[in-house]
């Protein structure tokens, strides 16, 4: 092996490159040496594998649902294509002929199990929720009232029967 190549490999520049601590000049030198010398290329490939093995050894499995969190966060990012400024055109005579204005939503052609609704609907949902609680409370109240009334009727019937049984004797 060429002395220069040996020195280069043993200098630790390749390791610095793979640990992200090499300077821009060193990075260029590594890439250049790699192209020129097969020994450097070989060492480069071996180190590449070592760093990957190290990464796998220190890996921590992400908790289930982490991908969904990433997905949900990314769904909120909608990048728009940069718009070039258009030269001014007097459109005052044509505006009536133009197509009706488009809705202020971006049409996204994709499959998704979620839907988006206007924020104003939250008050409707809150009202529905509160009303449902009121109806539930009322239902419980009337059920208890009804049960009490039935018990009273049963009691009165029993008293009536007892009274009818005692009357003939007297």
């Amino acid at each position: 092996m060429d002395n220069r190549v040996k020195q280069f490999i043993e200098s630790g520049i390749l390791e610095a490159y793979f640990t992200g601590s090499a300077t821009a000049e060193e990075e260029q030198e590594v890439l250049s040496m790699k192209q020129q010398y097969p020994e450097v290329q070989q060492e480069f490939n071996a180190l590449e594998q070592d760093i990957l093995k190290l990464a796998d050894l220190t890996a921590v499995p992400p908790p289930p649902g982490l991908w969904n969190r990433i997905e949900a966060d990314i769904d909120d990012i909608i990048l728009r294509t940069p718009q070039q400024p258009q030269p001014y055109q007097d459109r005052t005579h044509h505006y009536q002929q133009q197509a009706p204005p488009q809705p202020a939503y971006i049409e996204v052609d994709a499959q998704n199990t979620h839907m988006r609704i206007h924020k104003a609907w939250r008050w409707v949902f809150a009202a529905v929720f509160i009303l449902s609680k009121i109806f539930l409370a009322a239902a419980i109240y009337f059920y208890l009232e009804n049960r009490q009334a039935r018990e009273n009727i049963q009691e009165l019937k029993q008293q009536l029967r007892q009274a009818q049984q005692t009357e003939p004797r007297s």
């Binding site: 630790g12 793979f18 590449e48 070592d50 190290l54 992400p62 991908w67 990433i70 294509t81 994709a110």
Partner: protein
């Protein structure tokens, strides 16, 4: 997944590229970030932020000839260094304390651990570390080489 961009071609390429990167390197990246910040919850949040960041150019990271892991690590280092500074410096010695990361580091000498951790996890340059340790830059690189060699043979 619904949308990264309104360019349909970029959308499809980035979606699948990001998923590929997550499946192959998600755990490795989470382990690396956890090694830097020493906090699992913070590491998960950083991972989400990093994936959000790379979602715009994910397809470039898996092109042939690109070392995906190296690029991911660079992105993560830059991201963590910017996000964590100055309130919670990633380069803080507490955050890159050796010996806690994994069994590999226990194979190294104290000096090798110090150099490896500060460079690999701490985002320090060889020059900065050489100045800090009052050593020659070549010695730092050689020590780093030895450390990686020990880890390689210890596996």
């Amino acid at each position: 997944m619904k949308s990264f961009t309104n360019n349909p071609h970029a959308l499809t390429k980035n979606e699948s590229a990001l998923r590929t990167i997550f499946n192959r390197y998600g755990a490795a990246l989470l382990g690396y970030i956890a090694g830097v910040v020493n906090d699992r919850i913070k590491a998960e949040n950083y991972l989400i932020e990093i994936f959000k960041h790379i979602s715009r150019f994910a397809d470039e990271l898996i092109l042939p000839g690109v070392n995906t892991w190296l690029r991911l690590q660079q992105v993560a280092k830059n991201f963590l260094y910017k996000s964590a500074q100055p309130a919670n410096s990633v380069a803080d010695s507490k955050l890159v304390s050796p010996g806690q990361k994994n069994k590999c580091l226990n194979l190294l000498t104290t000096e090798q651990q110090h150099i490896f951790c500060n460079i690999y996890y701490g985002h320090k340059s060889v020059q900065a570390l050489a100045q800090e340790m009052q050593k020659d830059e070549d010695d730092i690189r050689r020590c780093l080489r030895e450390a990686l060699s020990v880890i390689r043979n210890g596996q």
